[in-house]
């Protein structure tokens, strides 16, 4: 049997060429040259749980605990006999992908008798069309299973493709629009190829044609789910533990079409409850902060697990100001990537300063570092260059904040809450733009604070 771990980023073979971040530098880690430092500060790159271990820092203590650990426990305790559908969300750049990869590693570290088979699906190729629905996901899951070539599942999937799915689709060709007729009549015998054709059509055809195909696939969604379930059963028969399907990056589905996204998450994805597996899906944060947020619990039996920012500022009720533990943890994240003593005049103090100003956003901290480093041709990086790096990001963030928000932001900074008169739309915009950040200190209720770079701006109202 193949190993029960799959680590897939994207569906194209091109992505397999992707090197973990720590393997892209020439020198030692943490970086001792400015060139390596810039490479390790790329905020677009999630960490690989194994290869990038040297860069990882345990942040649970400053994020209100290991929230994904609850998901692991759930899977462990429900076991193979049950199924579940769980949602994970968080701010942009909060490290969702990194944490999901870690969740996968945690699941695979469970005792052998409960160790699950984990399939990870990167939904990015699906959501790129900004028009995704249940049928796209079902096709992608089928394809994913076939690509993984799990020995026990392959014969089932092949048989179902030929007997049920392909036959059903071919029978629908008569009377279908012309483009569909061509597609359905020429579906390849090899299931993987056939599903690739369907997936490509769902991604690349014009909207109307996608809709027509989706409608057709919708009428056979129970066939697709039944097929997946038979394959899942086979996997479970041959392995001890349950099957866990992790669908990452689905939360990126376009926020500009909110009603469509709500419908997908709150209505259509319910069909995935029928799968005999534990399904973990990323959800957009804006859904959590809308009236739809409560519907998650009602529809799925549990709420959404939110990954908060690293807590670099304390609640006002606890005195406010910087949280030394959070700042130190963030500084450690940066110090794992950059050798501050070698590259910066002020050494680790720079890491502390940037961490406090980042608001707990690792991406923002890395961006400020990059800005400082690229101010100079040669090390050591001076305090002036650090100021420039900070100011650049500050100006960038500040430009996105309308003056009309300033009074509300001052109130949030004072009370750690959104004022009652602040509309849900504005709240979502503030959170989506990382103008307001959500923190956890171990209690169930989160608290909010304004990004430190905004608080420091001359436009922010002083108390």
């Amino acid at each position: 049997m193949r190993p029960n771990c799959t680590m897939i980023r994207g569906m194209s073979s091109a992505s397999l060429e992707h090197l973990p971040l720590s393997r892209r530098v020439l020198g030692r880690i943490p970086a001792e040259t400015l060139g390596d430092a810039v490479k390790l500060c790329n905020p677009a790159e999630p960490l690989d749980p194994e290869a990038d271990d040297a860069l990882r820092v345990e942040l649970d203590a400053v994020r209100g605990g290991n929230r994904l650990r609850q998901v692991v426990r759930n899977v462990q305790r429900l076991g193979a006999a049950a199924s579940s559908l769980q949602f994970v969300s968080g701010h942009i750049g909060a490290g969702k992908t990194t944490e999901l990869r870690r969740l996968q590693a945690d699941l695979l570290a469970l005792p052998v008798d409960t160790r699950p088979t984990v399939l990870m699906l990167d939904a990015t190729p699906l959501v790129e069309t900004s028009d995704v629905d249940l049928e796209d996901l079902l096709v992608a899951l089928w394809r994913r299973m076939l690509e993984e070539e799990i020995a026990s599942a392959m014969p089932v999937l092949k048989e179902l493709w030929t007997k049920d799915a392909k036959a059903f689709l071919a029978s629908q060709a008569t009377g279908a629009p012309e483009f569909l007729r061509g597609l359905l009549n020429k579906l390849p015998e090899v299931p993987k190829d056939g599903l690739s054709k369907l997936a490509d059509a769902l991604r690349f055809q014009p909207t109307e044609q996608r809709k027509a195909l989706r409608q057709l696939l919708g009428s056979m969604s129970d066939v697709l789910i039944r097929g997946l379930n038979r394959a899942l059963e086979k996997i479970r028969d041959s392995a001890a533990g349950p099957v866990v399907l992790i669908i990452d990056n689905l939360e990126k589905v376009s926020a500009t079409r909110r009603e469509v996204v709500e419908h997908l998450y709150l209505e259509r994805l319910r069909a995935l409850l029928e799968l005999k597996a534990h399904v973990i899906i990323t959800a957009p944060l804006f859904l959590v902060y809308s009236s739809a947020g409560g519907t998650f619990s009602a529809n799925y039996g549990r709420g959404v697990t939110v990954l908060p920012m690293v807590r670099v500022s304390k609640r006002r009720a606890e005195g406010g100001g910087e949280d030394p533990a959070g700042v130190a943890a963030m500084a450690e994240v940066l110090s794992r990537r950059v050798d501050f003593d070698t590259l910066f005049v002020d050494g680790r103090q720079v890491a502390q300063r940037i961490s406090a100003l980042s608001g707990g956003s690792i991406r923002h901290a890395l961006t400020m570092l990059e800005g400082a480093i690229n101010e100079q041709d040669e090390p050591p990086i001076t305090a002036r260059s650090v100021d420039v790096g900070v100011r650049q990001l500050q100006e960038d963030r500040e430009r996105a904040v309308p003056q009309a928000w300033m009074k509300t932001l001052a109130e949030i900074h004072r009370s750690n809450r959104f004022p009652a008169e602040c509309s849900a739309e504005t709240q979502r915009e503030m959170l989506r733009g990382l103008v307001v950040l959500e923190y956890q200190n171990g209690e169930p209720a989160p608290y909010f604070d304004v990004h430190p770079l905004i608080v420091q701006s001359p436009r922010f109202p002083r108390e």
Partner: protein, 470 residues
């Protein structure tokens, strides 16, 4: 166009590109039109992984090319520059931008090098609002804003200081009345002021002294004869030509005084009054009060001119606004105004020569905004044939000079030798029309383009062709 003020930002951009070489990095370069050419030149001169970065076309074509890359059908591609990333926001309702935003974590598997988005400040703000997630995945943000557009030549035969001195002597020794002499002096001062603005700073300072001397004489005579309109006009010229010495507040005060004097003698819809207001708007725009100045132009001056005066003045008011926009580093807006409003005005009035000049100016603004392909199309398809048909050497020379610059900066295969040819044409035409100043300028451009003498057979053939035709 190189501005010293943007050199540190360009150096930062070069460092960033060098240090991210070999891997994916999303880079946003926010630049105004005045610095856009320098940014694109810098990016074109950089080599990533031994290869020059691929620069996508401007506008929808570039967006479509990027969309193809995002689909990843042909596998991963090398690093690239999107020189007109503003089009991402406007193209097809932002569909491709949404796609880029959603694919942000997958870009490193699709692009094996930097993906550089060159945006205007307005475009960057729109991108931040529509795709904040993409903005947060940016590794490098470089702002390159010159704030001031480099002087653009005008397609007119240039005055020399000697011409002005001769004309000044003629006016002063004539038997004109004080009123007539004041009007003639103000006109001469204005012409010389505009001409001197095209000169390098040190030269222009000496020219300004001459302007001030003429305007001072006009003011003295106007006061002596109690000629209020003349006093006001001379005050406006002094305010405009003494920018450094007087400072913003004093200049503003001087022009506002002039406006009050003109209003006090009962003028309202009067050309001098509108010109004074247009000078005030220009001073406001040049000193950080952009919105106030723009408002004056758009809400007061241009509507008033359109209502009361003819095509020539309508063109003039818009041209002044276009010049101001360009000086603010907004060459693209200047081009839009010139090509979208001024050229049609001239065309409707049947003023062919003015139409050609404005087309040429519009193309020059496009060159300043680094929109080389659009500029080249206008110059080749419209300006050159029309100027040639009209037999106007100055217009033709101006068109070729701009073509040389556009083609040189576009930097495609064979563009350098084409630029040499155009610059050589322009020089010969300027020489034929006796414009020594521009001949000297073209000589400098030719030296820059071909430091060594024209040597190979193809070059000699081109030079021979050029000599035969011009």
């Amino acid at each position: 166009v190189r501005h010293e003020s943007i050199a540190p930002s360009l150096a930062r951009l070069s460092r960033l590109m060098k240090r991210t070489a070999g891997g994916f990095a999303l880079v946003r370069v926010v630049t105004d039109d005045a610095a856009r050419g320098a940014v694109l030149s810098t990016l074109k001169s950089l080599r990533e992984g031994g290869q020059a970065l691929r620069v996508l076309p401007d506008g929808a074509e570039g967006v479509s090319a990027l969309e193809g890359t995002l689909r990843g059908v042909d596998g991963p591609c090398d690093g690239m520059v999107v020189p007109d990333a503003d089009a991402l926001v406007s193209f097809d309702g932002g569909r491709v931008l949404d796609g880029l935003n959603l694919a942000r974590d997958r870009l490193s598997s699709l692009v094996r090098g930097p993906l550089v988005l060159v945006l205007s400040p307005q475009g960057d703000a729109s991108l931040a609002a529509r795709a904040p997630d993409l903005r947060d995945a940016t590794l490098g943000l470089v702002r390159v804003e010159a704030g001031v557009g480099a002087a653009i030549d005008v397609p007119f035969k240039h005055l020399t200081a000697n011409d002005v001195e001769v004309e000044l002597s003629r006016i002063l020794s004539s038997e004109m009345s004080d009123g007539e002499a004041v009007d003639a002096l103000v006109l001469l001062a204005k012409r010389w002021h505009h001409a001197s603005q095209l000169e390098p700073a040190d030269h222009a300072e000496r020219d300004r002294e001459l302007t001030d001397r003429i305007a001072g004489e006009a003011l003295r005579r106007a006061v002596r004869s109690g000629y209020v309109r003349g006093i006001a006009n001379a005050m406006v010229v002094r305010a405009m030509s003494n920018g450094r010495r007087l400072g913003f507040e004093q200049r503003r005060q001087l022009i506002e005084d002039a406006i009050q004097r003109l209003q006090a003698i009962g003028l309202s819809a009067d050309l001098d009054l509108l010109q004074a207001r247009s000078s005030l708007a220009s001073v406001l725009m040049q000193n950080g009060h952009v919105d106030e100045g723009l408002w004056l132009f758009e809400e007061e001056i241009i509507p008033a001119v359109d209502e009361t005066f003819g095509t020539e003045d309508q063109i003039s008011a818009r041209s002044i606004l276009a010049t101001n926009l360009h000086r603010l580093g907004r060459a693209r807006d200047a081009a839009t105004l010139t090509l979208g409003e001024v050229v049609p005005l001239a065309r409707r009035a049947g003023q062919t020569r003015e139409e050609v000049r404005q087309l040429a100016l519009g193309a020059a603004y496009l060159v300043a905004a680094a929109r080389y392909d659009e500029a080249i199309t206008i110059l080749c398809d419209e300006v050159v044939p029309k100027a040639r048909a009209a037999g106007d050497d100055i217009d033709l020379a101006f068109a070729y000079a701009n073509l040389a610059e556009a083609v040189e900066h576009r930097g495609g295969n064979g563009d350098l030798s084409q630029a040499l040819l155009y610059a050589d044409f322009a020089k010969r035409l300027y020489a034929r029309s006796g414009d020594a100043r521009d001949v000297k300028r073209m000589d400098e451009i030719l030296r820059r383009l071909a430091p060594a003498p024209l040597g190979n057979r193809a070059d000699r053939r081109r030079a021979r062709f050029s000599r035969q035709h011009f």
